[in-house]
């Protein structure tokens, strides 16, 4: 049966927050993307060397899916979630939810979203889109990275929902069952700020939070020994730019998005100090962006001598200092 649910498509900086806030808006809860990010204390840093990654890497936000879960807890949003081993069952469930009139949040491998230009599509198992209808063998998709709604063939969507590998989607679907459109954001904002400060400053693991930034600053000096040749090193150095700027971070590794959250929080809580903190994290974001720029430039030009890597390491260390001071001061506000 053909279905198309009335849905306001919006573009956004980041797929998880964009999909979630559009979905919530559709059922009456208006919340901005930065507000969802801030309340769910999405800002983070971690430096990892793991068997799951072919090379050491870093993250600048909480684990995919946590924004949805933390926000729903904080705002008492009731969500229905499903995962499927059986693909047919998972596709049928999607159809039945659409028939019931639900817009459905869906986890997919970004690579299969063939309405987006080929040159930006890479395998990434934690892309989120909303499915808003079905026409013949196509599903109608609201993807926050695309200017308008798009169609995707059923067989391709199936591949995208059951792509294998790290953080495989396993056909994950969700939709909001109940929201409070008049929810008071004040307490969730304060809790979100406190938890972000705790995560950045107090997790006793040496590669998480601010400690992770320092770890990154130290370990990047060893990258030349971990790489096969200059091409490999150049590729890994240029990936710094991609992780900070190119993966729906809103720029500067989500630091700009957190700045916008604090600005909005300042208005809601009528607290000008948060506005000052917003300016400060915006400036810290500028410095992360300069690191992206520096990494992109030296990587591209194969200008990767020990002094250059050391220079990059020092820039990252300064970010550790700046974020340590920032979150220590932010912690004092509440």
């Amino acid at each position: 049966m053909d279905t198309k649910i009335d849905f306001q498509h919006k573009m956004s900086a980041h797929c998880e927050t964009g999909t979630l806030t559009s979905l919530l808006s559709n059922v009456g809860l208006e919340i901005t993307e930065p507000m969802a990010f801030g309340i769910s204390h999405g800002i983070f840093f971690g430096y990892f060397k793991s068997k799951n990654f072919p090379f050491p890497t870093f993250i600048v936000r909480s684990r995919p899916g946590e924004i949805r879960e933390k926000l729903s807890n904080a705002l008492k949003i009731e969500l229905k979630r499903f995962k499927f081993k059986n693909q047919e069952e998972g596709m049928q469930k999607l159809d039945s939810l659409l028939d019931e009139g639900h817009v459905v949040g869906t986890q997919v491998d970004f690579f299969y979203m063939d309405y987006l230009p080929e040159w930006i599509r890479v395998h990434n198992n934690v892309h989120f889109v909303n499915i808003i209808g079905k026409k013949d063998t196509d599903y109608i998709v609201s993807d926050s990275y695309h200017q308008r709604t798009a169609n995707i063939n059923s067989s391709l969507l199936k591949k995208a929902r059951w792509a294998g590998g790290y953080m495989a989607p396993n056909g994950f679907l969700y939709y909001p069952l109940k929201v409070n459109p008049d929810v008071d954001l004040k307490k969730p904002i304060i809790n979100g700020i406190k938890k972000a400060c705790r995560n950045m400053l107090n997790i006793p693991i040496p590669f998480l939070g601010v400690k992770g930034i320092y770890k990154f600053a130290d370990k990047i000096n060893t990258w030349p020994q971990l790489t096969r040749d200059i091409e490999h090193l150049s590729h890994e150095i240029m990936k710094i730019n991609i992780l900070l700027e190119d993966q729906g971070t809103g720029g500067a590794g989500f630091r700009y998005m957190y700045a916008t959250f604090l600005k909005q929080a300042s208005n809601i809580l009528n607290n000008p100090v948060l506005n000052e903190m917003s300016e400060r994290i915006m400036e810290i974001g500028d410095d992360w962006r300069n690191i992206s720029y520096f990494a992109a430039k030296i990587g591209k030009n194969r200008d990767l001598g020990a002094n250059r890597i050391k220079e990059l390491s020092e820039l990252i260390r300064k970010q550790g200092d700046a974020e340590k001071k920032f979150f220590t001061d932010l912690k004092k506000v509440y």
């Binding site: 930006i120 809103g250 700009y256 998005m257 500028d286 720029y293 992109a296 591209k300």
Partner: protein, 96 residues
């Protein structure tokens, strides 16, 4: 984004991009300011790494910050969309 033609600014931005990204195969005058800056077969042969260089250079040169509050993909679509953005932000004069 509403188009506000400003050929002088368009040429200035094109020259800035060509100079900063060390592009040798085309001159500023030859670039079609309405063509997409990124994607297959773009005239300047730009990639996503170049995007950040453009953003940083625009901030340094014109004092504008392109962040999550803005429709980044639309702003970076073409030279003309950059002109429109700087005009809208009232940031058409160089600060350096």
């Amino acid at each position: 984004m509403t188009e506000k033609n400003n050929p002088e600014l368009a040429l200035e931005i094109t020259k800035l991009i060509i100079e900063k990204l060390n592009i040798l195969h085309v001159t500023a005058e030859e670039v079609n300011i309405n063509s997409p800056l990124f994607g297959d077969d773009n005239e300047l042969d730009l990639d996503s790494i170049d995007a950040i260089e453009i953003v940083v250079e625009l901030q340094k040169t014109y004092g504008v910050r392109i962040n999550n509050e803005l429709p980044v993909r639309e702003i970076l679509y073409s030279i003309q969309s950059l002109v429109d953005f700087l005009t809208k932000e009232n940031a058409t004069k160089k600060i350096i």
